[in-house]
Amino acid sequence: MIVLEKRAEPSRAWGAGGPILAVVLTMLAGGVMFAALGIDPVEAIRIIFWDPLFSERFAGYSRPQLLVKAGPLILIAIGLSMGFRAGIWNIGAEGQYIVGAICGAAFGLAFYPSENPLIFPGMVIAGVAGGVAWAMIPALLKVYARTNEILVSLLLVYVAEAMLASAATGWLRNPEGSGFPGSRNLARHPGTDNPELFAGTGMHWGVLAAFVAVIVAYVIMTRHLLGYQIRLAGQAPRAARFGGVNPARLVILCMGISGALAGAAGVFEVSGPAARISIDFNVGYGFTAIIVAFLGRLNPIGILLAGLLMALTFIGGELAQLMLGVPAPAIQAFQGMLLFFLLALDVLANYRVRIKRKVAA
């Protein structure tokens, strides 16, 4: 009989090894899925994980895309991870991302056609403010009305999507766009653009912000009192209150940080890679970032690596779609599987598996 026995302390080896094994298992299970779809699994896995980085044909285009896609994922996931560690479940980052983009774009377009260099910083501030404001709704409701933040933040994603649709088709629509939905192109207008900082790298201001966020988060989580309080509140809420942690302040702070980073990611995206507000502007970064946060074990460095890996599956997925006709949703299922394996392997970090012989009674 197999029994699970709680470890006195979580295993560090499994903590680090779990995600790697999860990736391997996902590749195997994903291979089975591709085979079921009638696609050569070995080739599919190669196209997803290898070709975007190393094939001569595609790497030129794909490599910069890696940072472009990883930037928002890492930025959002860093914010989410702090809340998750504190037991505060903001799962509406997608909504905060949308609202951040709308606010940033609206700020930039309000000064159109000015090319004042202060406009872009102003857009970033507006976007951050929008993300924070959107995150404050579940935060304040949790603090003052004890409403479940999971449900409220998630439901607000649908409200944000309705706002996005109305902005794209109404008040932010390009007046010179002959009636098509979508705003003016922000990326091609000096003053509102978020350019590639080093040609051919994909590095833009948002990617830079993501790297800074990783470093700052690492310092906060390991050295600063706030990081200690976040971990304490997540592991032992009662001990945290005894230790003088104000739970309401922590909720506001964590939701605020994750809203700010998601909002910032929205601005960087709308002024750079996405270029404009459109009905289908959001592509699920806010949700995928949840997977990134867990895959990185809520650790800033881990999130950096997980964000790059997840970006790779996006790019590789697009490539596989192009080359092998793999349906687009297959990649989403693939990412979901990764999270399953990860959660399943977590058990090994906290429990020891023992084979028990039946006792002769």
């Binding site: 004890r146 449900l151 439901l155 309705a162 297959a330 599987m337 959660l343 429990y351």
Partner: protein, 307 residues
């Protein structure tokens, strides 16, 4: 009068049924002490499996069974993760939703717009034609009546039977239930599978009966609203019915208001079901004592038998 109350009520009942089914299933799951945030993912699996089966077999009955089976398969993954491998329930539920949305979209590639058979209605035309009463009471498909009967059945089982008592006990204090010799993990897995079947049935109703089409992401947050309804209902079955009708009423009304073009922004109308759900959640949650009394004490906590 631009909005006819009879058709509004008929629409309300149809719109509310998928959410009602998912919510009554989740209520049982939560009464057993498990928080499954994967309702949205299970519903969409039910929707796609039901639709595919309905299209190929032409049998609505088989479609409902397939919808339930698809969602139960997903629920089983959640059960293994949270009950056997003791994974975090919030994270596992989210994973279920993300995976379910992806897998359903994958399975549904190419099915959008294909025909499905019409659903038989159990009551004769004579009854359906009674003015007012007929459409409201007798015009629905069989599943609408099943869903209401299910609410009654869950209420009876939870409050009047031993199975219900044991289920509530497990959700209240799993360590005590274990000490008394009850199989906490088995009972919870059974509850999770029941919740999956209900969510799958709700999803299948959505694609096969209400919309009669497969659209990627067609549940559009219905699973999350079902989760909110359980909180709104303070874990009481009849209040779930009330909440579902309230939600259905708003959703049906806003569609008619959009059609009537009365000058309210479309974005606000689109968002209204979600906004109303949030407002109702706030009103319920701020009543401190009542909310705490009915919530299962062991909700979301990991159980590890350690004797």
């Amino acid at each position: 009068m631009i909005i006819d109350p009879v058709t509004l009520i008929v629409a309300l009942i149809t719109v509310s049924t998928p959410v009602l089914l998912a919510a009554i299933g989740e209520l049982v799951v939560e009464k057993a002490g498990v928080l499954n945030l994967g309702v949205e993912g299970m519903m969409i699996m039910g929707a796609v499996c039901g639709f595919i089966t309905a299209h190929h077999t032409g049998s609505p009955a088989l479609a409902f069974v397939a919808g339930m089976a698809g969602a139960v398969a997903l629920a089983l993954v959640f059960a293994v993760l949270t009950q056997i491998l003791m994974a975090n329930q919030v994270a596992s539920g989210l994973a279920l939703t993300l995976f379910g949305l992806g897998l359903a979209a994958l399975l549904g590639v190419g099915y959008s717009g294909l025909p499905v058979p019409a659903i038989a209605r159990p009551f004769p035309e004579a009854l359906r034609d009674i003015p007012g009463l007929g459409p409201i009471v007798f015009s629905h498909s069989i599943l609408v009546y099943v869903s209401i009967a299910l609410v009654a059945a869950v209420w009876i089982v939870l409050t009047r039977t031993r199975i219900g008592l044991v289920l509530r006990a497990v959700g209240e204090n799993h360590d005590a239930a274990h000490a008394l010799g009850y199989k906490v993990v088995r009972i919870r897995i059974a509850a999770i599978m029941f919740g999956g079947a209900c969510a799958g049935l709700g999803g299948a109703f959505l694609s096969v009966v209400r919309v009669q089409n497969w659209i990627e992401g067609m549940t559009a947050g219905a699973g999350w609203i079902a989760l909110a309804l359980v909180v709104f209902a303070s874990w009481k079955p009849w209040r779930v019915l009330l909440g579902a009708w309230l939600f259905g009423g708003i959703a049906a009304l806003q569609l008619r208001l959009q059609a009537a073009e009365i000058g309210v922004p479309v974005a606000l109308l689109d968002a209204s079901p979600y906004l109303v759900t949030i407002i109702v959640l706030v009103l319920i949650s701020s009543d401190r004592r009542r909310a705490a009394l009915n919530a299962p004490a062991g909700l979301g906590r990991v159980f590890h038998a350690s004797s």
